[in-house]
């Protein structure tokens, strides 16, 4: 028992190091990719359990600060899925998303969160198979990149 009451099992000296699991956040638009995720599920198309899906009413609901916050809290990768350009339920939401995310991702790269850790994909409600492929690809990319820098420590020099 540790001081704050959490159960902590001391790792056995010769046990293999616990496998690193990427922490991945996926913001999915309610009208397309979230339904695509559903379809993927009901079609029994697998996507990795490392992906935590957050449902949003439109890709443009995703304030860039949500993405920053996910990284600050230790995400290794963040993906945003919305309706294909031209198909946004609110007509133009994803066009604004496109600009914001291009600028935000470029800035994240500039502070050291490399490009592969951020992604926008357009996935419609009918594209269950594509949803599963997109997620598998993204998770593979994050596994390849490994652990992210500690964005939350951006102001704490060691």
């Amino acid at each position: 028992m540790s001081v704050n009451g959490n159960l902590t099992a001391a790792p056995a000296a010769n046990a293999p190091a616990a496998e690193w699991k990427p922490r991945i956040v996926a913001f999915c638009c309610n009208w397309c990719s979230y339904a695509g995720a559903d379809l993927a599920g009901s079609s029994r198309l697998a996507y990795p359990a490392d992906v935590k899906i957050i449902r949003v009413p439109c890709s443009c609901r995703v304030n860039p600060m949500f993405i920053l916050k996910a990284f600050e809290r230790g995400a290794d990768g963040v993906i945003l899925c919305g309706c294909h350009p031209g198909d946004c339920h609110y007509s133009t939401g994803n066009y604004y998303t496109r600009r914001r995310m291009a600028l935000l991702f470029s800035m994240l790269d500039y502070i050291g969160v490399e490009r592969g850790r951020t992604r926008v994909e357009w996935v419609s409600a009918a594209e269950g198979a594509r949803f599963s492929k997109v997620m598998n690809d993204f998770v593979a990319k994050i596994r390849e990149l490994g652990e992210n820098v500690k964005v939350g420590d951006l102001r704490c020099k060691e």
Partner: protein, 332 residues
């Protein structure tokens, strides 16, 4: 710069005397010769303290938000002295409907570059008591307790002047300037490119070492014309010490990135944030990164070049690049 300076001060007095304006926003000599601070003069008498010299780098546009409204309420007009770079901020604030234009008299003033006292000190001068501009217009005589010395003005400019956007005023009612517009000075994106060429890990280390110096004094936000929101995300009203206590740890940790995004597309690269930062953090490297990206992704855009422009983040075209262009999809 002396000639312009004398003309500017004389003209401000004249406009006040003849009643065209009843207030003048300018710079007031401070305790030390180099700390000319923004000040609103309310009488011709008070104008004796108005200065315009090599240490008047402060951008006065932001002060027009409150003062233009106040002037209207009093049935008067406020005169504001704006250097070429300051006019971009003024236009941007007009675009955002923050200034009552009809209550402001913009006196555009010529500028040959502002000097940074810290850079003069870095040249090895101690006990500086004053500086005088030499007749060549290119050097300063630095007076110190231990004798006089000389320094080239080009070597001691504040960052924004080192990379001056040009000497043309974007807006004015009247202009007093001897400047010839030579266009932009230096390559303001060189620093951004240098960082871009580093590895992500090195970039993170660079920012970590810069941003860990920050004492969260909020000077960058307070001096920034774009950071003029009535309610700022960084103010914690419940704390009783407005502008000092952070709202939550996320905002505290991500302060610089959040602020840079909030001003993306609206920042005119006026350079105030970097200039006022007591810790010498190169904040312009954030702003210029956004400006550079905007130019490259969506075409050249200069916030504040004209009032009423539609900013790049509240606009789109069907042909815009996909964020995939900046997020390496690993051969997908």
């Amino acid at each position: 710069m002396q000639r312009v300076s004398e003309k500017v001060i004389a003209r401000a007095r004249e406009l006040m005397r003849e009643g065209t304006v009843n207030k003048v926003a300018g710079w007031k000599a401070g305790e030390f010769f180099y700390d000319c601070a923004p000040y609103v003069f309310e009488s011709e008498e008070a104008l004796k303290d108005l200065v315009y010299d090599r240490f008047c780098a402060a951008n006065l546009s932001k002060y027009m938000i409150k003062n233009s409204v106040a002037a209207g309420a009093e049935g008067g007009k406020v005169l504001v002295l704006l250097k070429p770079c300051d006019t971009y901020s003024f236009n941007q604030l007009l675009t955002e409907h923050r200034i009552a234009r009809e209550n402001v008299y913009v006196l555009g003033v010529g500028c040959e570059g502002m000097c940074d006292i810290d850079r003069i000190r870095e040249k090895g001068f101690k006990g500086i008591t004053g500086v005088d501009e030499n007749a060549d217009g290119k050097t300063l005589t630095v007076h110190t307790l231990y004798g006089d010395g000389e320094v080239a003005i080009d070597d001691v400019l504040v960052n924004k002047c080192e990379f001056c956007k040009g000497k043309a005023h974007m807006i004015f009612d009247e202009l007093i300037s001897d400047n010839e517009d030579e266009g932009p000075r230096g390559d303001r994106f060189a620093g951004v490119r240098e960082l871009e060429a580093m590895s992500p890990a090195d970039r993170f280390a660079f920012w970590q070492s810069e941003l860990s110096k920050c004492i969260r004094c909020n000077a960058c936000r307070n001096a920034c014309p774009a950071c003029s929101c009535r309610k700022c995300v960084f103010d914690n009203d419940a704390s009783g010490i407005a502008s000092k206590a952070n709202t939550d740890s996320f905002e505290e940790k991500m302060f610089h990135i959040i602020r840079a995004f909030h001003v993306a597309g609206r920042c005119t690269d006026c350079g105030e944030c970097t200039r006022v930062c007591p810790q010498g953090i190169p904040l312009h490297l954030f702003n210029r990164k956004y400006i550079k990206d905007i130019n490259e992704f969506y075409g050249e855009y200069a916030a504040g070049a004209e009032a009423g422009q539609r900013g790049p983040l509240i606009n789109y075209t069907l042909e815009d690049i996909d964020p995939a262009a900046v997020s390496d999809k690993g051969g997908n």
